[in-house]
Amino acid sequence: MRAKSLKDLLKKGDRVAVSNITGREARKVSSVSQCYCGNITGGWALGRGGQRVETPAGDIPVFATFEELLRYTEPEKRPNKILVYSPPEAVYGEVKEIADHGGGIVETIYIVTEHVSIEVTAKIHQIAHSMKMDVVGCNTLGIINTRERVRIGAVGGDNPQESFKPGSVTVISNSGNMVNTISSYLLSSGMGTSFGIPTGKDRLILFPMKDFLSLASRDKGTKIIVLYVEPGGTYEHDAIEMMRQEGFGKPIVVYVAGEIAERKGISLGHAGSVVEGGKSSARAKMEAFDDYFGIQPYKPHHHYRKSAELSASLKRGIRVTALHHIPAAVSLLTDTIGIKRDFGGAKPLFLNPWFVNLGELGTHLPQKLALSAGTIPEPYKTSVTKKIRTAGSGTIRQPMRNCSHASSNDGATPRIYGYSLLELMKRSSFVGSLVLYLTGELPASDFEERLAELTLTASLTNGPGTISAQGAKLSASAGNSPNTAMIATLAAIGTVHGGNGAKAVDFLLDRFEGTDIDDPYAKHPGIGELASKTAFEFKQKKLSAKEAGTEYDRIPCLGHPVFRTDPINFDPREQVIRDFIEEQGKTNVFLEFYHCLVKALKENGSTPHVLAVNLDAAVACVWLGICWKSLRSGKMTTERAKDIAFVAFAIGRAAGGAAEFLDHQDFGTEMDMRIPVSECRALSGPRNL
């Protein structure tokens, strides 16, 4: 063993390189690690040299081999820790390469790979031992040093800080999952973690329990050690022997799994959990720990009276018989021995259901079993609220390769959401059928159908200079066919041009969340107040952002590049839609909200003029009105409602693009959209190779 303390296995400032970093799992894990602690300086993968692994915290360079990684990495960034994510067949070659080139640089190798043969594992041990490198694994998940907020591998999953709060317990476990699980349970006893270490549970564990314990005994940050142990191997007996010989000074809480499974003849999941000989059984390990501790396993309802004898035993530790007794046993240790808890607010673990619907069954159950929903802790609660809002609840997911709710054809009748296309041709309009196809329901009234038609007509064009029309004209100028021109039109629509409708729906849904509006076409007295509140909040946000010198989110679909200088501005296309609604003696609460909002923004000084409510807003408001009932009943997802606003505009504009193409094809000159060289400006000077 090269390491002299747990920190030697991982500390802040260590540089990590990842083998096979472009693989599915390695890429994902590296991305999370990079955001958590940013300690990965590079990776390598055969045939992938020169690529980069993108992460939110910056790209990681990929080299073809480890040797190349060392050659091209600045000396101060060369990795002293290696994470091996290669397939089993490649692991030996990777370790050989690390040993051949990383001597004097690499200190520890973590091998995550499962199914590495025992022969290769023994060879790895010998090679690494001769090079004075430590190897953890195979089949480990890595390690986390919580106090210094660094990790290697996947310990803590995609949110390590959730389970691993800095503290004084080191968790050492044969199971990777258990490191994460136990660490999160420990929080309930007011204890955080110092280190989280999954040993792996292959037949040969290259960094055995006794070595980890030995290092933990020297770790100043570790006051208590929690062990999760499975049957198989004699590592725990070796550890106990070491502790007895060396007079181990830190208390241990241990959970030994697998006794009943053993009795039932069930094979456990991990390769090394095979009982061979009496000493490797769960029962033998339990007895060995009990004997070492000198105290019976922890009993949750037992009243432990403080005494010198109890204190002496607990200084060695105690075994628990249920996983959820670990926090309580740790509390017993801290209270008896006098170890300070890492933080306050501890509360015991309890059954806390997040969602419950026991229906009829619940009425027949005794109170303690008829649970009701408890409190969902943060950050899950916010996530649940958000997801419920966007998920819809009408249908379930399934493979959709050969099926569709939207259409069907039994060989005789094509249908849209169950309605015969033939009947729709006879009795409905194109717009009515389109509403059905997009939303799953026919328009509720002629009024709704006409409104939809108005948005499609309005979306056809805003003149030949629009980006989308230019797309069609460019395509025609290049000699393309009409379908290509329509694609060019659609390709020229984006989040800024045309896509604002989706943002408007998102904005409106956020504002109207929690209102009791059932009919979007009836007048609603609270709209003015809602608009004022929104304007006030916007102004606050704008002011804080200005003070901080940061950007702020604009309200979507306000203003127009042409109609913008009058004291009160209007988009004439939006006006037609609004007038039609008024003529019908109805309203559209969303559009009215928008008009109240632009006034309120002017009144509170957020804008110098009353901004125009533009067509994108009108399209969004009309289609949100059409979708409102389905959204409220949970039949439609908010994602769909947002997309429909965009799709409606795109359908109109794609038709407009086709018309521009036809015109341009008939009357344009060849390549007339090309900008002459003389009109193009060079923004960079000539350079020599």
Binding site: H115, V116, S117, I118, E119, T121, A122, H125, Q126, L141, V155, G156, G157, D158, N159, N174, S175, N177, N180, T181, S184, K201, R203, L204, P208, E230, G233, T234, D238, A257, I260, A261, K264, I266, S267, L268, G269, H270, E276, G277, L323, H324, L349, L351, N352, F355, V356, N357, G359, G362, L365, L369, L371, P377, Y380, V384, I388, A391, I396, R397
Partner: protein, 418 residues
């Protein structure tokens, strides 16, 4: 399940390749005339053995010495159909009787302390190694790259006071044993006993080994390790086949014979703990399962479909439970389970058993909500827990709920089934 090599496969394939001296033999399925002829050639005395995977010295109980054709034929038939321990033999076979003046024990395995292969020898062969006193056996570590050489073997034998006339020949046999071990990807192997004839000729008279399926060398060209009859249910057999199809995610199950809870569990360690908790509190789990390892959607769907198709109609409670995953995507796995459940109901009709769910890990909320949506759609009563409730508490709750339902079923209602 690890794969085992029995003596019969050793006699047929391994020993001839590595030049290990073994008794002559013939399978019990051969012609009667051929068997009769062999017995005559071998001097009229032979040993009938079962070809069976057994632990310890279990097989010894099924071994019989015969000295005439009539007994021989009777024993071949009897032994081939008699369980050894709880295992059924694949066949019986006849082996030449080797008279011996000395029996020797030898084994090669990987040592968890020295983290390398080790070689153990005793001159008290024929017994279980754990029963041999420490001063009568010796173990040495083997350099994994250099292997076992004849000098090491002879030193070991000399240290055990082996008769000098035997040291050379046995050392050569041990080197051949190492060659076999390391060339065929074995994890552990035992030749026990070597029977040494009065003429100082050693014969390997019993063999057993475990194959390391992760070692490519275990797929020896020309050798197909036979399958042995196992006491597997149809469900276990189908799942084992499905499990072997891919390394992406585990699909491991072991039947427990329970009639209460159908457990869909995740994580090698957690699934064991949950099952133990269920057993401890009367949850009567149908099987132990481990479906972790981040299975993709199709893999998890196939796994869940198989579980439901075999066991859901008899289940009283469905438990979907795992710890706080590091890697496994909860949205993907839960969506697949939910889809498999909905598919089963669509095919077989509605059920009304409660579903208890508990999980933590990446994309948790999407996964839990997908499950909740499906359970509501199917009208199944449910309780869903997050990672703040320990898995063992959830398992305990599920067991108690089942217990309560069974009590009330006995009293009130027999129709909780589809």
């Amino acid at each position: 399940m690890p794969q085992h090599v029995t003596e019969f496969t050793f006699l047929e394939h391994y020993a001839p390749r590595y030049g290990i001296p073994v008794p002559r033999h013939i399978p019990g399925t051969a012609d009667v005339a051929a068997i009769r002829k062999r017995l005559e050639e071998w001097g009229g005395k032979a040993v009938v053995k079962p070809d069976v995977v057994s632990t310890g010295r279990g097989k010894a109980k099924g071994v019989v010495i015969v000295e005439n054709v009539s007994d021989l034929m009777h024993e071949l038939k009897r032994i081939s159909s008699t369980d050894v321990g709880d295992r059924m033999p694949r066949l019986s076979y006849l082996e030449e009787f080797i008279p011996s003046k000395l029996e020797i024990y030898s084994a090669i395995t990987y040592d968890t302390r020295s983290l390398c292969p080790s070689f153990t020898v005793s001159l008290n062969g024929g017994a279980d190694v754990e029963t041999i006193p420490d001063d009568q056996k010796a173990t040495i570590p083997i350099d994994i790259f250099r292997g076992l050489d004849a000098y090491q073997a002879s030193d070991l034998l000399s240290a055990l006071s082996c008769p000098s006339g035997l040291v050379g020949i046995l050392s050569r046999c041990f080197v051949a044993f190492w060659d076999l071990f390391v060339s065929t990807g074995l994890e552990s192997a035992e030749i026990n006993p070597w029977r040494v004839t009065p003429e100082n000729k050693p014969y390997a008279c019993d063999f057993k080994a475990t194959v390391d399926g992760s070692n490519y060398k275990s797929r020896v060209p020309g050798i197909v390790i036979p399958e042995y009859p196992q006491d597997l249910s149809d469900f276990e057999e189908e799942m084992a086949e499905w499990n072997a199809k891919s390394h992406q995610g585990q699909a491991h199950v072991s039947d427990l014979g329970g009639k209460g809870i159908l457990p869909v569990l995740f994580g090698g360690g957690v699934s064991t703990i949950i099952t133990e908790t269920l057993l401890m509190h009367g949850g009567d789990p149908m099987f132990l399962s481990d479906f972790g390892g981040n299975p993709p959607y199709e893999r998890m769907l196939g796994t869940a479909q198989r579980c439901f198709s075999h066991r859901l109609k008899d289940a009283r409670l469905l438990l979907i439970l795992g710890g706080k995953a590091n890697n496994t995507l909860i949205d993907v796995t839960f969506q697949a389970i939910a889809d498999a459940l909905a598919g089963w109901v669509e095919k077989h009709g509605r059920i009304s058993i409660p579903v208890i769910v508990g999980r933590g890990g990446p994309n948790l909320i999407s996964g839990l909500l997908a499950m909740k949506k499906t359970l509501e759609y199917l009208g199944l009563p449910y309780v869903i827990f997050g990672p703040d409730t320990p898995v063992t508490m959830v398992a305990e709750y599920a067991a108690r709920l089942l217990h309560e339902m069974q009590g009330s079923t006995e009293n009130h209602d027999e129709s909780k089934k589809p």
